[in-house]
Amino acid sequence: MDPISKFMVDHKIPIGAWGKAFFGFLTDNFDTVFRAFSNGLNFLLDGLVNILLMVPPVLLALIIAIIAWLLQRSRPLAIGVFLGLIFIINQNLWKQTVQTLVLVVAAAAMAMAIGVPLGIWAAHKPKVYRVMLPVLDLMQTLPTFVYLIPVLTLFGLGNAPGLIVTIIFVIPTAVRLTHLGVVSVPKSIVEAGEAFGATKSQLLWKVELPSALPTIMAGLTQSIMLSLSMVVFAALIGAGGLGTEINRALGSRRIDLGLEAGLAIVVLAIVLDRMTRIAVGGKK
């Protein structure tokens, strides 16, 4: 090794050690807080799953199809949704699918609940966005496994850490698309609102948000899709559902099981995508 490189390596910045110390500090001092939070979240998610599983599968599939019809008023779509869900029931993956569905919808909803206000804030304050941008990049590009470890140590196994990991991964998309939507509201209509005496909040609710709505809804669709893509990772830290099946198929090299569970995810993705995407189209 050349002397310069050796010098640099000898004086390595202990980022890893700092991070470890930080999470060690968190687990040592706030372990009970995190555990309680995790347990509460697990209880909620499991409870929701159990309630949904009490409904006969075909009935639940029908209800979802009706929701699809209400959102978009398209009979072919509702029938398609129903048939897709029947296929999943037929593959005997209903329980896992419901677990995944709850996880995905909860993650997307949480990501939107956090991401949309952040996106609006960033759109109104360019300086905030400049600070936020590297953090968003970090959340999106840091390999998932890297933050699986600390989340696992803080929250333990189960649905709750799976949900948190998914939210971390999905929030940047919600923020970015909300920011994009609000920033690209035409200046002329913002000025029209101002010229007629809108307050800041009137401007937000009556001009900016309606104008940005298609982009924000695209953010919702994207959030759901990204949440689904995290299902397999979340399963690694104990979140149940279709991801668990796929991990099991991978572990025991079972092509059949992998294919079934994989197709179920695809069906679920298509169903959710069409249901939410079309809600955007109805507005135009």
């Binding site: 209509i189 000025e191 029209a192 609102g193 010229a195 007629f196 009556k206 001009v207 507005k283």
Partner: protein, 446 residues
């Protein structure tokens, strides 16, 4: 006359170094110099302008001359760096530059409405929801809002379209929605930022006419930004010409055309036909300057071909041409008159010079101008009924000694801006024998 908007030494600078730029403005620096030294953009400098109630004041200039910038200072869409913008707010005036947010919002909701070049309609709202925007923001209850919106939509002939979305309408209709939205708040002051520039010429002309019609009823105070002088001359009761952020000239349309302040204004009016701006008013002569014959007859021309008789009330009792009785007609219908008839035309002070010339060509004499009080001079106000009232008023004014006549005789025009209007001057010179006359009379039995 009440002042509606008063700009007092308004400077607007966009950029961080406000103090440095203002100092340069005081030193008389140009926009380019300020940009180079401070990196700031000069919006407008030292602008002082008074807009009275009921006026249409047009701000004119090339793009980047600061006209929109000045307009947008009225409702503080642009922040004024220095100076005052006084806006009438009920019985008092408010300085928009310094007032607090709540006052500003109230002004924007109730006193000052705006129409935009790009319409600024909300595409997800229907026409009626768009028109109701200002009322909604001001918290007007829904029932009242609906009623007022319907009224405005009727006014601009869009009541059939109220449930359509804005983007389903043509450009002209969208701008009518924009107009209705501005009218709906019933704000007395209307800011129009090149409202018709984005429309094709035919629609533009139509909307200009509609605006003038509406204005005749609504009597708003309108500040109108335009880069089109024809439009400005047609619409404006006052025109302000701006260059590089500074006001170059302010005046009535004919002042701009007859007495341009500098070469910039002269370039502007170079392509405008003065005949479309000037009216009979500009060339009228006092009837006392005409040659009087016996028994109340007055000769209209020096060649003594045409004469008319005025009774004790100052009304025209009879007209004669080449010794024979002649028909007494308005020159507004000159094209509809059979040519062989002996005619004596009359014109209003508001009759355009084009029409007057046509009548002159036909009858070989100038029309008799029916004078009307200066305030009622606008062509749209002039009707035969109005002429009679106007005549009485004029006589009153003359008795009280107020000079309401504007002495633009032929000679006066001849001394006008000859270089730019050679064609125009030629016409006047070769026909010097024709005389124009202004009379406080009205047509007999018309």
């Amino acid at each position: 006359m009440t002042v509606a908007v008063d700009f007092r030494n308004v400077d607007i600078v966009f950029g961080a170094d406000q103090a440095g730029s203002l100092a340069m403005i005081d030193a008389g620096a140009s926009r380019a110099e300020i940009l180079e030294k401070t990196g700031n953009v000069l919006g407008c400098a030292g602008a002082s302008l008074t807009v009275n109630e009921g006026e249409i004041s047009v701000l004119m200039g090339l793009s980047g001359s600061g006209k929109s910038t000045l307009l947008r200072a009225v409702n503080r869409l642009n922040v004024v760096s220095r100076g005052q913008v006084l806006v009438k707010d009920g019985d008092k005036t408010v300085d928009v530059v310094t007032c607090d947010q709540a006052t500003l919002r109230r002004l924007r909701q109730k006193q000052v409405a705006m129409v935009f070049q790009q319409f600024g309609l909300l595409p997800w709202r229907t026409v009626e929801e768009n028109v109701g925007l200002g009322l909604e923001l001001a918290g007007v209850p829904e029932a009242e809002r609906k009623e007022r919106v319907q009224r405005q939509l009727k006014l601009v002939n869009l009541d059939q379209w109220s449930k359509k979305y804005a983007h389903e309408l043509s450009g002209g209709m969208q701008q009518r929605v924009g107009l209705a939205r501005a009218f709906a708040t019933e704000a007395p002051i209307l800011l129009m930022d090149e409202p018709f520039s984005a429309l094709d010429p035919l629609i533009r002309t139509k909307l200009q006419d509609e605006l003038l019609q509406l204005q005749a009823e609504l009597k708003k105070t309108i500040i109108f930004v335009s880069h089109d002088l024809e439009e400005a001359l047609k619409i404006g009761s006052h025109i302000t010409i701006m260059e590089g952020g500074r006001i170059v000239q302010t005046g009535a349309p004919e002042d701009i055309v007859l007495r341009p302040a500098n070469d910039y204004v002269r370039d502007f009016i170079a392509n405008v036909n003065p005949l479309s701006v000037l009216t009979a008013w500009n060339v009228m002569r006092d009837r006392r300057d005409l040659e009087h014959g016996d028994n109340g007859w007055v000769w209209l021309d020096r060649r003594k071909t045409t004469r008319f008789k005025i009774d004790d009330h100052g009304l025209v009792a009879a007209a004669e041409r080449d010794g024979k009785p002649a028909v007494w007609v308005s020159c507004a219908d000159v094209e509809g008159q059979p040519e062989e008839l002996a005619q004596v035309f009359w014109a209003n002070p508001g009759t355009s010079l084009k029409t007057v010339m046509l009548a002159m060509h036909r009858s070989q004499t100038a029309p008799v101008a029916i004078a009307i009080c200066r305030r009622h001079r606008h062509p749209r106000c002039v009707e035969r009924g109005a002429a009679a009232i106007g005549a009485a008023r004029l006589q009153d004014h003359r008795r009280s000694g107020k000079a309401l006549w504007r002495g633009f005789g032929v000679g006066c025009l001849n001394r006008g801006p000859r270089r730019r209007h050679s064609e125009y001057c030629w016409w006047l010179r070769c026909d010097r024998s024709w005389s124009f006359s202004g009379l406080a009379v009205r047509p007999a039995r018309s």
